[in-house]
């Protein structure tokens, strides 16, 4: 029976409803009235360097982080690569060129960040958590989620580390990993997304300041959801975090990330890199709720979210990306799977919501290399206001990837008549015995559907939530239960205005 799932789904959908209203006038009204609720600035004492990008800045970052020479060398190599690359222009998004010299590449809360318990934390930091709705104690109690919080550039808190280490699982900040597990970092960092991959990947490789590292040893089923929150706080800073997850043979891990940023008139750059390595028969599930500041109703400010996410699946391994993208002025993001080993599986489930002047160009790449590899793509776009949302996806089946299969479904839901939805599928099949299917639909929330719900006693907001919920069902049901709790906390403040 499905009754028990109802409330969880409803909770997740509440973040969508404030922007989805019955008719165009109301959409615009409600959307413009619904303010971003994570726009506060916390006043920590921070250690911030001057803006600009050059070798000295990179050396400073590396030095501040007390990195070994090999790491600095990697950074400088990436910087050399960056100089040869240009900002990509092919995406269906518009923005002025980003001047890398105007960005601050390092900013960290000054207080010593290695914490053994919450009592040691900066009270201002704890206040930030509370305002974000993330009470770490509550999370421990509720879900047993291990959390790593990255504010501006530096990882400030991890919990559950000891419990995990008993199982041989490493879950720590990237800085700590570079210091304590150099052999793993040398082996895997940049192995999936090399610096030369693209402009923003090269930038990230040169200047990344922290991020999360996760290692699951052979045969281990990680007993809890691992989770990271990212937050940009300092003005003028970019956030360049780096995440690396390595799942050894026959292991399993589910990983969640959430993000917010203060409300500022300037555009902030977020250029992250996420690399996943799933060795033979391993499974990695990676879920994201992205809620960066989207800019105001006139399109001023907001985060540029230019992220490279990619995973390699070895023999019989499985990589699954699930994302709920509601924030950012511009989203440019294609979580991808390289299905390298025979019988490996890649999945991509996405909900992307845009409103006001938001632009999203998002999708996935499934590269089939091994025999009998399978991939599934389910993309649900929702556009409101004057926003534009594009799905861009590549399905490539190499000659040797015999008997491989892909199924893609790209749906778009439009609210009002000033928004746009676009689908750019790229399909490239190089053998005769593989099967690729692509389905796409575009629909509008109908007045008839709303009236039907109203007649049953269900008011407008509830009705829209219900319809959108149904529309997104295939993706929402992929999210772990714990995420629903976190998403609720993260989105609660958003709700206050739109419901009350």
């Amino acid at each position: 029976m499905h009754l028990e799932h109802v409330d969880v789904e409803k909770v997740l959908l509440y973040n969508l409803i404030f922007m989805l209203e019955k008719d165009e006038k109301k959409i615009i009204k409600e959307v413009t009235e619904a303010e971003y609720k994570y726009g506060f600035v916390s006043n920590f004492d921070t250690d911030t360097i001057s803006p600009g990008l050059n070798e000295d800045i990179i050396k400073t970052i590396s030095k501040k982080k007390k990195e070994p020479d090999w790491m600095l060398k990697k950074r400088l190599e990436a910087f050399e690569v960056l100089k040869t690359l240009k900002q990509p222009e092919w995406a269906n998004v518009e923005y002025p060129d980003i001047d890398l010299q105007n960005i601050i590449y390092y900013s960290a809360p000054k207080k010593k960040v290695q914490l053994n318990s919450l009592d040691e934390a900066d009270p201002e930091l704890l206040k930030t958590f509370t305002r974000l709705g993330i009470s770490i104690e509550e999370q421990k109690r509720l879900a047993g989620v291990a959390v790593d919080v990255v504010i501006d550039s530096v990882s400030v808190s991890t919990s559950f580390k000891e419990k995990l280490s008993e199982l041989g699982i490493i879950f720590c900040s990237m800085s700590e990993a570079i210091e304590k597990h150099p052999e793993l970092i040398k082996k895997y960092l940049g192995s999936v997304v090399p610096a030369k991959d693209n402009y923003f990947a090269a930038l990230n490789a040169a200047v990344f300041s922290d991020g999360s590292f996760c290692f699951i040893p052979k045969g281990t089923h990680c007993p809890m959801e691992l989770s990271t929150y990212f937050r940009i706080n300092e003005a003028g800073t970019g956030q360049f975090e780096r995440t690396l997850i390595v799942a050894e043979e026959q292991s399993y891990v589910s990983y969640l990330e959430g993000c917010t940023a203060p409300q500022r008139d300037e555009n902030q750059l977020h250029a992250a890199v996420v690399e996943l390595v799933a060795l033979d028969s391993a499974e990695i599930k990676y879920s994201t709720v992205q809620n960066w500041y989207p800019g105001d109703k006139n399109g001023v400010g907001g985060v540029y979210n230019f992220v490279t996410k990619r995973g390699v699946a070895h023999k019989n391994a499985k990589i699954s990306w699930t994302q709920v993208e509601t924030g950012s002025a511009i989203t440019w993001k294609y979580p991808s799977c390289i299905l390298k080993g025979d019988d490996s599986v890649g999945e991509f489930f996405s909900i992307a919501v845009t409103k006001n002047h938001q632009q999203a160009d998002t999708g996935t790449k499934m590269i089939h290399m091994g025999k009998r590899t399978k991939s599934t793509i389910i993309s649900k776009g929702i556009s409101a206001g004057k926003s534009n949302s594009s799905y861009r996806g590549l399905v490539k089946i190499n000659r040797n990837a015999e008997n491989s299969r892909n199924f893609s479904q790209c749906d778009s839901l439009l609210m009002g008549d000033k928004c746009g939805a676009h689908t750019f599928p790229y399909i490239n099949v190089n053998n005769k015995n593989s099967i690729v299917e692509h389905e796409a639909t575009t629909s509008k929330i109908g007045e008839d559907q709303l009236f039907y719900c109203n007649q049953r006693g269900i008011g407008e907001k509830e009705a829209i939530a219900l319809i959108v919920n149904g529309y997104c069902k295939e993706v929402l049901q992929r999210l772990p239960m714990e995420f629903a709790v976190e998403a609720k906390n993260l989105l609660e403040i958003t709700l206050e205005d739109s419901v009350g």
Binding site: F451, Y452, C453, G457, G459, E462, Y471
Partner: protein, 246 residues
């Protein structure tokens, strides 16, 4: 229970209802018949509160309250139910989920606690049996891929869960085979009481063999032109509308 006085309404500035009057008391069943385009479905929509239609004159009173300016969900909470002629599909929303929300929203409006899932499920099972529907029905998406007959049964199923004071059945019988018709009629009859009332819109006298109306009205060109007992439906069957509306 329902009192409609001198009701005029338009859609896109085209007049549809032109001075309609109707009185329905608790415990009564009224049948409304009339040729295509006479305004039957419009009447149903206006009572339910569809804002596609502009009411330009007249009153609709329900339980002694003028409901013309009341939102449709509030009318529903007061006990108005419309069985749609063309029920809409809502993919991804299961029948049970939809009914749970509908039932609890109505309870909330009336200051009641939400019904527990267990109680709700029991009630659903009971009503499914009454309508000879399989319980697998509950996990299907609302009207998504339903046959015409299944959609209509689903309407009556929802009615049985929401227990309205006033139920308007808009051509619930069209698209039903004779067995389904009997089952639906049986469902309606089992809900009849001295506390509630039914307005049944139909083209055919057939349904009225199974649900006995107290009154039959003929609607033509936006107004009720003739009202009588059940015998009017039989007369209509013989003579056709032209024979009756002179």
């Amino acid at each position: 229970m329902l009192r409609i006085q001198d009701l005029f309404c338009t859609i896109n500035n085209t007049p549809v209802l032109k001075g309609l009057n109707l009185n329905v008391k608790a415990g009564e069943v009224h049948a409304i018949m009339g040729p295509n385009g006479s305004g039957k479905s419009t009447l149903a929509s206006v009572i339910a509160g569809d804002d596609k239609y502009d009411v330009t004159n007249g009153n609709v009173e329900f339980l002694n309250k003028n409901i013309i300016d009341l939102a449709p969900e509030l009318r529903a909470a007061m006990g108005v139910f419309l069985s749609f002629q063309y029920p809409v599909e809502i993919p991804g929303v299961s029948v049970s989920n939809f009914i749970k929300i509908a039932v609890n929203e109505k309870r909330k409006q009336n200051g009641l606690e939400p019904m527990s899932s267990t109680d709700l499920l029991q009630e659903m099972k009971k009503n499914l049996e009454l309508l000879k529907m399989d319980s697998s029905f509950l996990s299907r998406y609302l009207n998504d891929g339903f046959s015409g007959g299944e959609k209509k049964r689903n309407e009556i199923f929802q009615m049985s869960m929401l227990k309205p004071k006033l139920a308007i059945l808009d051509e619930t019988d069209s698209g039903l085979d004779i067995d389904a018709l009997k089952i639906v009629a049986n469902g309606v009859n089992s809900l009849r009481s001295s506390e509630n009332a039914f307005v049944i819109i139909t083209h055919y006298q057939r349904l009225l063999n199974y649900i006995k109306p107290d009154y039959v009205h003929i609607l033509a060109d936006g107004a009720i032109v003739k009202s009588a007992g059940p015998e009017l439906a039989l007369e209509l069957e013989k003579k056709g509308y032209e024979g009756i509306i002179k």
